[in-house]
């Protein structure tokens, strides 16, 4: 229970469904702020107290479990390492993968619980043979199946998402109000919980060593300079301070971040188009396709709030290494290594990969 409205209503529904429920708030920082500020809604003492009040009203016991050490190692340090390597990580997915449905779930199972129940907007369906599948929520605008795409069959077996069938967040808020939960009108949290002011680049510049370097075009010609390559994201246009467009008069975008040489590569928008993305770190959320090496039709989503696009996917194995390959029907724009490509078949989340290789849709000579 984060202290927000979704997890509070999820807990209340789980109780009503007859489960024996205990509220757990995750302490993810050793130095939590006292009061909630801005858009965060999970990591302060005030949020913890909101969660406890909600648990009191629902009538369930409540505990704070401290996972701050694991959160630092698995989420915060990983976030820094990914950016340092020129990739763009999604810390919320990492938290689901390693904290909520790993460290927390393992502790809960050891202590005698059967499942972790959260306020995520996603649905778990069970097929005729009892296999569990992860699906989008009924509330498409709030659907959070993307950030759960990292869950494996084993993790899904112990997950519960009671809000998945609710058609809108407004209904959840109304239900919270009807239940007398004070968090009914609490603002949604967004942004990254451990970056308290929402300034990711500023935070990164405090946590990652950075030095001035060159901005180059795709032929390696120096076209500008920067204060540190870390924090640039593929597809970014603002903040380059190049002053002039390229020879063709076109604005230039970040195409690639090269931490090793401290270079930021820029080029025209069309050079962002990718014909193929792939990643060796992939997983299936439930049963995999019968033969994953045979290309199958799917949709791919590359950000939490991006539209899914039609694609073909398959597992490619070469030299003992396997990767999940996704070939979109139309080129994808602005995808950065480190992002997660979640593969859907209809509403079902089939699996995901963390993107580590991309193939441009446009020959390099264009830029």
């Amino acid at each position: 229970m984060s202290g927000g409205v979704d997890s509070a209503v999820a807990a209340a529904r789980a109780v009503e469904a007859g489960h024996d429920v205990v509220g757990v708030h995750l302490a993810l920082s050793r130095m939590p702020g006292t009061l909630r500020t801005g858009s965060r809604g999970c990591c302060t003492i005030e949020d913890s107290m909101d969660a406890q009040r909600a648990a009191n009203v629902i009538g369930i016991p409540y505990y704070v479990w401290d996972f701050s050490e694991r959160f630092k190692l698995d989420v915060v340090d990983d976030f820094i390492a990914e950016y340092s390597a020129g990739r763009t990580p999604n810390p919320c997915m990492r938290c689901n993968e390693r904290i909520k449905f790993a460290a927390l779930l393992e502790k809960a199972l050891s202590l005698g619980f059967d499942a972790v129940c959260t306020g995520h907007y996603a649905t778990i369906l069970t097929d005729a043979d009892g296999n569990r599948e992860l699906h989008r929520s009924a509330a498409w605008a709030k659907d959070q199946s993307y950030v759960l795409g990292v869950l494996t069959t084993e993790q899904l077996a112990h997950a519960m998402f009671p809000l998945g069938a609710t058609p809108s967040k407004a209904e959840v808020r109304a239900e919270a109000a009807a239940r007398g939960l004070a968090v009914a009108a609490k603002p949604d949290s967004h942004d990254i919980c451990f970056i308290s002011d929402g300034d990711t680049r500023g935070w990164l510049s405090d946590h990652v060593e950075h030095a001035p370097g060159s901005i180059v075009d795709r032929d390696g010609a120096v076209v500008g300079s920067h204060d540190g390559a870390v924090g640039f994201t593929v597809g970014q246009r603002r903040g380059l301070a190049l002053g002039v467009p390229d020879a063709g008069g076109r604005p230039r975008f970040v195409l690639e971040v090269r931490p090793r040489t401290n270079e930021v590569v820029v080029g025209p928008r069309e050079a962002l188009a990718l014909a193929r993305i792939s990643g060796e770190r992939f997983s299936w959320a439930g049963l995999p396709p019968a033969d994953p090496t045979t290309p199958f039709r799917c949709e791919v989503q590359i950000r939490a709030h991006a539209d899914p696009v039609p694609a073909e996917a398959f597992v490619h194995t070469e030299g003992g290494r396997s990767e999940l390959v996704v070939v979109p029907d139309a080129p994808l724009i602005g995808v950065s290594p480190g992002q997660t490509a979640v593969v859907y078949v209809g509403t079902r989340v089939l699996g995901q990969c963390t993107i580590d290789r991309t193939v441009s849709a446009v020959p390099a000579t264009v830029g």
Partner: protein
């Protein structure tokens, strides 16, 4: 049946105290008022002050009623510091042992940050004892005793139950003309407390640890000691603590202190038998359990058993016992409900991974053998589960 073994956190209100408290709450009037209502309130207040003074071995005028232990400790440490420094600007050090309650340690840290004080620590021994010669060495260290504003020590450690040699510590401080404040919050009702005999300059007390209500405590301030007050206003209580005085709280506190003191020997003996039954039972039933602090005997209060269980987190154990209807503590203060690894155990030199698995069982006069037996029955399964959960810092297998 719910079993309560967290008396060091707070005790059940004694029925006779509740009755006297409720009756006194009906009293009309401010004890500082001149009229008849005020005089009757004042009478009840001053009778209570006299009764409490008689119980804790001080003069009535030395009893300053406060809102509780934390306020008393803050008043004593900040007030004695400010007074000493005002008299002699060189006196800017505060000497305290390791393992003090947060009310003491955090107050001293605040003085360091806000007032430029210097904190000098007296290291605890492996059982949480404060050794007089170590206190002497700390007082004489650095710029010497002339630079020390005050020293403060806990009489009974609230986490591991170590009884400190207060008279010997006071002698060391007095020989150097340094005021000693004693935090006696966990001592009252567990050891004989006599302020005059202790030799301390100031002493903090709290009612809710001995069957009284929350929000009433006392600072005993020797008549020859003066301090700069935290609270300014109407000048009540020697101007040490301005503010309308809590007559009903004082009545309840005095009665609770009388009751606790009258039955002290009996309670100590009875709790000691139960504590031994608990410790012996745990030792027999759970491998890898170690009682921390002094062995049962004159250096440990009989109400406390602090036991570490290897290979698990105290909060998992606390949870598993709570689910079985048994309330215990991991020992230390919490922020937003997050148990911290006990700083007392760490200051005693207990390795962090062992200190993580600490549970503090604290008994009270109402604890029964059936309570202890229920804990012993529930504990092996709780430890087994908590050990399966392991330390929360371990890498999950489920990646």
């Amino acid at each position: 049946m719910a079993i309560y073994l967290d008396h060091a956190a707070s005790t059940p209100l004694l029925p006779e105290v509740l009755e006297a408290y409720a009756e006194a709450l009906r009293t009309i009037g401010n004890p500082s008022s001149i009229h008849g209502h005020g005089q009757r309130a004042k009478q009840a207040l001053e009778e209570s002050r006299e009764r409490l003074a008689a119980v804790v071995g001080c003069e009535p005028v030395e009893v300053i009623f406060t809102s509780g232990g934390t306020e008393s400790i803050n008043s004593a440490i900040k007030g004695l510091f400010w007074a000493a420094r005002a008299a002699d600007p060189v006196r800017s050090s505060v000497v305290i042992p390791g393992g003090e309650h947060h009310a003491t340690a955090d107050t001293v840290d605040w003085l360091v940050r806000a007032e430029g004080a210097r904190r000098v620590e007296v290291p605890l021994d492996a059982d949480g004892r404060i050794l007089p010669d170590r206190l002497a060495a700390a007082l004489d260290s650095g710029s010497g005793a002339g630079s020390v504003a005050l020293t403060s020590a806990i009489w009974v450690n609230n986490e591991v139950g170590t009884i400190q040699p207060v008279a010997a510590l006071a002698e060391v401080a007095a020989a150097r003309s340094i005021p000693l404040h004693v935090d006696a919050v966990a001592a009252l009702g567990h050891v004989p407390v006599d302020f005059a005999r202790s030799g301390a300059s100031a002493m903090s007390l709290s009612a809710h640890k001995i069957g009284g209500p929350v929000s009433i405590g006392a600072l005993v301030l020797g008549r020859r000691s003066s301090l700069v007050p935290l609270l300014h206003g109407g000048g009540q209580q020697r101007s040490v603590r301005s503010g309308t005085q809590d007559v009903a709280g004082a009545v309840a506190f005095a009665l609770a202190a009388e009751v606790a003191t009258a039955r002290l020997d009996d309670d100590v003996r009875r709790m000691g038998e139960l504590r031994d039954r608990l410790v012996g039972g745990v030792r027999a039933a759970v491998d890898g359990s170690v009682m921390r602090g002094p062995a049962p005997g004159p250096e440990r209060v009989t109400s406390n058993a602090n036991i570490t269980f290897a290979g698990c987190d105290g909060d998992s154990l606390l949870f598993a016992l709570d689910m079985a209807g048994i309330s215990v503590s991991t020992g230390s203060a919490c922020t937003a409900g997050v148990p911290e690894v006990s700083h007392v155990l760490l200051d005693m030199g207990v390795p962090e991974d062992e200190a993580r698995g600490a549970l503090r069982f604290t008994l009270g006069p109402s604890t029964t053998q059936a309570d202890i037996d229920a804990v012993l029955a529930a504990l092996p399964a709780a430890v087994e589960r908590a050990r399966a959960a392991g330390h929360s810092s371990r890498e999950p297998a489920m990646y």
